[in-house]
């Protein structure tokens, strides 16, 4: 059978058909929300984590919500998150001390969360006072009562994370309240973990993801160890 090609139209049909076929089988990326989970950690390399013996862990998770925006994060998993961070710190050799402004712990762990649908750099340390300044535990640290508006967290390294999609991010921030910079109005951050994932899923599946990701943050930070 002879194939004819009146006015050369067959190639033009194929020009459309072949790319469309290829587009339809464009390689897939992540297939579920878990595949998008990301655990990032960073630390102050000058800080001696084995010299720390005690920590305090405020019994709340602060949701960082910009003015005029709604808080999209629930509180169903707050106790799971706080409990897992506490368990990990204890298993790494640190002693939890209850809130006592007369005998404050060496370091404080602040857990914060935010959701975002925007792109851009987040985690501006200057936000810190606005979200955590209320905590009564600061009263026991030198200079604590005079910390005021404009104070933030000083961190020796950048921690930019670029957001897309609707994501939730959990920050576990370890601060050294006795290491402050009056001029810069900062309190030293010694360790930071950011767990970023899509706000999807639920129930048992989400609990497992939260647990696994908190465990991973500690696992990839081997310097967090005071076990003698």
């Amino acid at each position: 059978m002879k194939i004819t090609n009146p006015k050369g139209i067959i190639p033009w049909f194929l020009i459309i058909a072949i790319p469309v076929s290829i587009l339809s089988c464009y390689p897939g990326g992540p297939s579920n929300a878990e595949d998008m989970d990301l655990v990032g950690t960073s630390h102050d390399k000058e800080f001696n984590f084995s010299a720390v013996s005690s920590f305090s862990l405020p019994d709340t998770i602060v949701h960082m919500v910009a003015d005029g925006e709604e808080d999209e994060l629930g509180r169903d998993y707050d106790s799971l998150i706080i409990g897992r961070v506490r368990d990990q710190m204890i298993s790494h050799g640190y002693n939890e001390e209850p809130l006592d402004t007369l005998n404050p712990a060496d370091i404080v762990l602040l857990i914060s969360a935010m959701s975002s649908t925007n792109s851009g750099v987040f985690f501006d340390p200057s936000w810190w006072w606005g979200y955590w300044g209320w905590w009564p535990g600061w009263g026991g640290y030198p200079g604590g009562p005079v910390w005021g508006p404009g104070w933030g967290m000083g961190f020796p390294v950048g921690f930019p994370v670029y957001l897309n999609y609707t994501t939730g991010t959990l920050f576990i921030t370890m601060v050294d309240p006795e290491n402050t910079d009056i001029d810069e109005k900062t309190i030293a951050v010694t360790w930071l973990a950011a767990i970023n994932s899509l706000l999807q899923g639920g129930g048992q599946y989400t609990e497992q993801r939260i647990t696994d990701n908190i465990d991973q943050a500690f696992k990839q930070s081997p310097y967090l160890n005071n076990n003698q």
Partner: protein
């Protein structure tokens, strides 16, 4: 780059005029499906063979042996890496990594066709022009994208087999080399099959 394409087109036209054979004014169109095997630095980034690619060409025969045309192609390379921990200078990240390369050659191509009177017509060719290459790494929900324009060359060899008055099956292979741009050099071998219409 356009200057180079101009030289190629002018050179092939000159060859055609000096050839002494009768001038022909046939045009051709080709559509190919392509498989691409990454090489060199491209393979270091993604080692998987790409089964997602096509090319389109439109051109003209100046003699029965010599043709000059323009081609556009698209190849997609992809590789997934399971959840792992990556150490950067001051940051440790754990997550799944998905890498993609989208390569778009936009080139002029000249060919010499052997055995013009035969049903089986082998050819040798050289394409020259630009590659637009978009290199992407997805880590979690974060995307790191690196897009560059490269000058490149693609020598090729192939065969067209007549199956009708104007229709031919085309089979060929070409080596793509995108010269260094933005710190990246890319190369891959494409094996293509498709149809060519000469009219």
């Amino acid at each position: 780059m356009m200057k180079n394409i101009g030289y190629i087109v002018a050179g092939l036209s000159l060859m055609a005029s000096l050839n002494g054979t009768a001038q022909v004014v046939d045009y051709y169109s080709t559509v190919n499906y392509g498989i691409s095997v990454p090489l060199g630095e491209t393979r270091d980034f993604i080692s998987n063979t790409s089964f997602r690619g096509f090319s389109f060409e439109f051109g003209r025969f100046f003699t029965e042996e010599i043709s000059v045309g323009f081609l556009f192609a698209w190849s997609v390379f992809h590789e997934s890496f399971p959840r792992d921990t990556y150490e950067f200078e001051e940051l440790t990240l754990t997550g799944n990594v998905y890498r993609y390369i989208n390569a778009f050659p936009l080139m002029a191509v000249g060919r010499y066709h052997f055995s013009p009177d035969s049903k089986f017509r082998p050819y040798l060719g050289l394409a020259s022009g630009t590659y637009v290459i978009n290199k992407v790494s997805d880590l979690g929900v974060h995307r790191y994208e690196h897009k560059n324009w490269h000058f490149g060359l693609a020598p090729e060899a192939g065969l067209i087999i007549g199956i009708g008055a104007e229709a031919y099956v085309n089979m060929g292979a070409h080596y793509n080399h995108a010269f260094k741009s933005g710190g990246d050099t890319h190369s891959w071998l494409s094996i293509q099959a498709g149809v060519t219409f000469i009219y």
